[in-house]
């Protein structure tokens, strides 16, 4: 438990991604089997046992601690596991149980024997170990690191890309001894035969002007870039899975997609909320993504579907080496034969040359579209983000002039800088309402300017947040505006970032909320044909 607890504590307070990877790598390199495997499973959410109930934890604590002191302390600390961990009387110093010992015991301890068992462990632990133990056994472990990050750390440890680990990952079980044997050169790569494993996704580079100038347009095919999340559907003899492009298994959250997978194969597509063929705003999909298992009501209100881009495996046949054009033919043939529910094909867009596409891209203002995808007809399906075969050509962002309202210090390298900004627009009654938050888009020089401006124009403070004079205008660019019931203003922005600091503009002349609302796309578009407004409307 000791190294695991130390890792969790460090991860909790470490904001930087690279630092987290270093911590994980250090842990995996220096912790023996099977403990590290169970830690990996805990991080990946792959451990299962009957969780201990908070009421039971409270009960065993009350047997040792005065009730009044406990309640006051709980009020003060605010977290049950942490309160118990801190208030638990230190008895004779002992050696904390190993993580593997705890996991094994949780599997075969009877419910009646569990409280005494847990109390015995708590006696042997120090406060940090107690928190880790309590969070683990109550199922409340929030690690502050994703499974993906752990795999990157493992990859670094072994000198392998994390994608190689993804290819075998979903065929393995905790404590993953064959995985560690392979990573440390003691055994061959584990065989994932038949298991529904994730296949590394092919990603695109953004198309810059210089790239566009040198591109051989005839060699490319064009598709819409749909605004959902990229997914991979895997169905093998060993099972069915729905993965994100970072190999996160989200099958449980989308049972209707799983239920529609009556085929064997691996497909690449965009997960969307689709109502009567119309793509709903991203916020709707987010409702589903936030839920581990959806209610019947959510399934009805936010029906999910997959718009297919590509086919990687047809049955057992690996199609990834085929050129895009050939895969597309296979995909269309496959679709015609299977005709799966809750899936449709992302259409190819006809175009004669770059001007055509530029016009289409400018006009693409539907909420459901982020821009265009360009794919070389002769390119195989490659892992990662190779430069050249695929381009994403996002539409130009929208912009508003908003007023800076609040600022907060950032994390890590930005921990001394006010780098998170909340901005607002004027309501018609003259009240400024917050519409979004931006963290990025500006140079270091501009960041320093904003930081000093915030420090010199603070009107009040709420913990780490400063309210500032409503006097500075920021030009904010964003990809789309969508209605939202969760925001006070009623509108949510996609990918807001700062494009310019408008010191030249008086705050009173910043945009009104009503002008933003006018740009909200209220519903999706049908299939593709009404995607395009007149290009003139785009500026």
């Amino acid at each position: 438990m000791t190294p695991f607890a130390a890792l969790l504590e460090r991860l909790l307070f470490t904001p930087g991604r690279l630092a987290k990877i270093a911590l994980l790598r250090d842990y995996f390199a220096h912790t023996p089997d099977p403990d590290r495997g169970y830690a990996l499973a805990a991080i990946a959410g792959d451990l299962s046992f009957v969780a201990a109930k908070p009421a039971m934890i409270r009960e065993i604590t009350m047997a040792r601690v005065d009730a009044t002191l406990f309640e006051w302390s709980y009020d003060y600390v605010g977290d049950l596991a942490e309160t118990v961990a801190l208030i638990w009387p230190d008895t004779a110093p002992g050696v904390a149980p190993r993580l593997s010992e705890v996991v094994d015991a949780l599997h075969d301890t009877s419910k009646a024997a569990l409280p005494a068992r847990i109390a015995g462990w708590l006696d042997l632990c120090d406060p940090s170990e107690r928190i880790a133990l309590l969070k683990l056994i109550t199922g409340g472990l929030r690690v502050g690191a994703s499974a993906r990050l752990a795999k990157i750390a493992l990859g670094e440890m072994a000198g392998l890309p994390a994608d190689d680990i993804e290819e075998v990952w979903h065929g393995l079980l905790p404590p993953y001894l064959p995985l560690f044997d392979w990573l440390e050169g003691r055994a061959p790569k584990p065989d994932a035969a038949g298991a529904p494993v994730f296949r590394p996704t092919m990603l695109a580079h953004p198309l810059e002007e210089a790239d566009a100038a040198s591109i051989d347009w005839d060699a490319f095919r064009a598709e819409w870039k749909w605004d959902g999340i990229r997914v991979q559907l895997v169905a093998t003899s060993g099972g069915k899975r729905l993965y994100t492009r970072t190999a996160e298994d989200i099958s449980h959250a989308f049972p209707e997609i799983l239920a529609a997978m009556h085929f064997l194969g691996v497909l690449d597509g965009e997960l969307l909320v689709l109502r009567d063929g119309q793509v709903a705003p991203f916020a709707d999909l987010q409702q589903r993504l936030n839920r581990k298992s959806p209610t019947a009501k959510m399934l009805a209100e936010f029906p999910a579907a997959v718009r297919l881009y590509d086919i990687l495996f047809d049955g057992d046949e690996d199609l990834r080496a085929l050129p895009f054009d050939a895969r597309r033919q296979r995909l269309e043939a496959w679709y015609a034969q299977e005709n799966p529910e809750r899936m449709d094909l992302s259409p190819l867009i006809d175009f004669a040359g770059p001007e055509d596409l530029a016009q289409l891209r400018l006009g693409a203002r539907a909420a459901s579209i982020e821009g265009l995808m360009l794919k070389r007809g002769d390119a195989p399906y490659l892992a990662g983000r190779p430069k050249g075969p695929w381009w994403k050509w996002k539409r130009d962002p929208l912009s508003i002039d908003a007023v800076l309202m609040y600022a907060q210090r950032g994390h890590g390298r930005r921990s001394s800088i006010y780098s998170d900004y909340t901005f607002g627009l004027w309501r018609d009654d003259g009240v400024l309402v917050p519409v979004g938050k931006a963290y990025s888009g500006i140079t270091d020089q501009e960041l320093n300017f904003l930081d000093s401006w915030v420090r010199n124009h603070t009107t009040s403070r709420f913990g780490p947040v400063r309210e500032v004079e409503k006097a500075l205008v920021l030009e904010i660019i964003f990809d789309a505006a969508q209605l939202s019931t969760r925001h006070k203003s009623g509108v949510a922005l996609r990918f807001p970032r700062i494009s310019r600091i408008r010191t030249d503009k008086p705050a009173a002349e910043a945009d009104r909320l009503s002008s933003l609302m006018a740009r909200v796309v209220r519903s999706g578009i049908a299939k593709g044909e009404t995607l395009v407004e007149a290009p003139a409307a785009a500026n």
Binding site: A22, L69, Y76, E82, L86, P127, S416
Partner: protein
């Protein structure tokens, strides 16, 4: 002769705790004629008193921090353990183990004895004399960490966390936010005890106090000015600075810093997170819960007065032990590192006791 209960001769006045027969205040909150000072933190040792009585170290600290002219019109040093008669009240100073020079004020009047412990701790501290328990009729205690969730681990354990982090991130500057008086010097001394004998870089606000500790016999080793150091030099270095400086512009000179903080509040994770700390080090100069109760037990006093901190839980715990507890609610003592939720901005924030920062211009410290 009836022994007078201390409540008949010790009173809480607006200026602070007053010893009536002796005619002096202890750690008064505003300027008075006669003050007895427990230790040099600015919420206890305030400027502008007429006559000041304290240990020689505390008087030196007061002069260093507020200037000789504001540290009392007349200053009377009193060594630990030497009794002094003040208008019939026998006053003795005993080590409190809080910071260099910190003292408990032992007062005896007509056979009745009260001890005002000031701020104190029981953990080992290489920079000051250890706390000495004194039996008494009334023990006056702080309760900064007056909840049973506060139990400080051995400081060596916390220093080891820092050294392990340095091994893991050898390029990053490890900056420890610590009070400029007491905590900083203790952290430096603990690092030396743990075998770190390289240079330690310090913020300008620490310079004079570290020099004073050295003059008074506390060895701190190779200290260098952090502000003058190049970023390149600070790679993998240990820097000690007041907590406020770490999160402020000053902190930008550091190389991808790991922000550590040495404070008893680091025990509660949410508090550490809110302070933007990446490496919490639970090192405190105040007694933790167990040590509060232990000190009270050793004083063997039937009655305990609590000056400041979280007194409710402590008084409840005392009642379970058949000890009478009473809250004095002396407003103005701030415990350990108050206001750390908004740790920057010296200009408008209330002054931090124990962190009497000069108004540093950027780059000047």
């Amino acid at each position: 002769m009836v022994v007078p209960h201390p409540e008949t001769w010790l009173r809480v006045l607006p200026q602070g705790l007053y010893c009536e027969p002796g005619g002096f205040f202890i750690d008064p909150l505003r300027a008075v004629d006669r003050a007895v000072i427990t230790h040099g933190h600015s919420d206890h040792a305030r400027a502008g008193h007429q006559a000041v009585l304290a240990t020689p170290d505390t008087l030196a600290i007061m002069r260093a921090r507020m200037g000789a002219e504001r540290a009392g019109e007349s200053q009377q040093p009193l060594a630990y353990g030497e009794p002094l008669d003040i208008r019939g009240v026998q006053v003795t100073l005993r080590p409190a183990g809080h910071v260099l020079g910190s003292a408990q004020i032992v007062m005896e009047w007509r056979g009745s004895r009260a001890v005002v412990s000031g701020d104190y701790k029981r953990q080992d501290d290489p920079t000051c004399a250890p706390f000495e328990p004194v039996e008494c009729d009334v023990f006056v205690t702080e309760a900064t960490f007056g909840f049973p969730v506060f139990r400080h681990p051995p400081p060596a354990h916390e220093i080891a966390k820092l050294l392990k982090s340095l091994a893991l991130f050898p390029e990053r500057t490890h900056v420890i936010g610590a009070y400029s008086l007491g905590k900083s010097q203790r952290v430096i001394a603990l690092l030396r005890e743990a075998g770190w004998d390289g240079p330690i870089y310090i913020h300008g606000a620490l310079t004079s106090l570290c020099a004073l500790y050295e003059e008074r016999g506390v060895r701190l080793g190779d200290l260098r000015a952090a502000t003058a150091a190049k970023k390149e030099v600070l790679k993998g270095a240990i820097v000690v600075a007041p907590p406020a400086a770490c999160a402020d512009r000053w902190g930008r000179r550091l190389n991808d810093p790991v922000i550590a903080r040495a404070s008893g509040w680091m025990r509660v994770r949410q508090r550490a997170k809110m302070a933007g700390v990446e490496l919490p080090m639970i090192i405190s100069d105040h007694a933790d819960w167990d040590d509060l109760l232990r000190s009270i037990a050793e004083a063997q006093a039937p009655e305990v007065w609590v000056t400041h901190g979280s007194e409710e839980a402590l008084i409840h715990a005392l009642s379970l032990r058949q000890i009478r507890g009473r809250a004095l609610r002396l407003v103005g003592y701030e415990g350990e590192e108050p206001g750390e939720e908004a740790p920057d901005e010296r200009a408008s924030a209330p002054p931090e006791p124990g962190d009497h920062l000069p108004p540093v211009a950027e780059g000047a410290a």
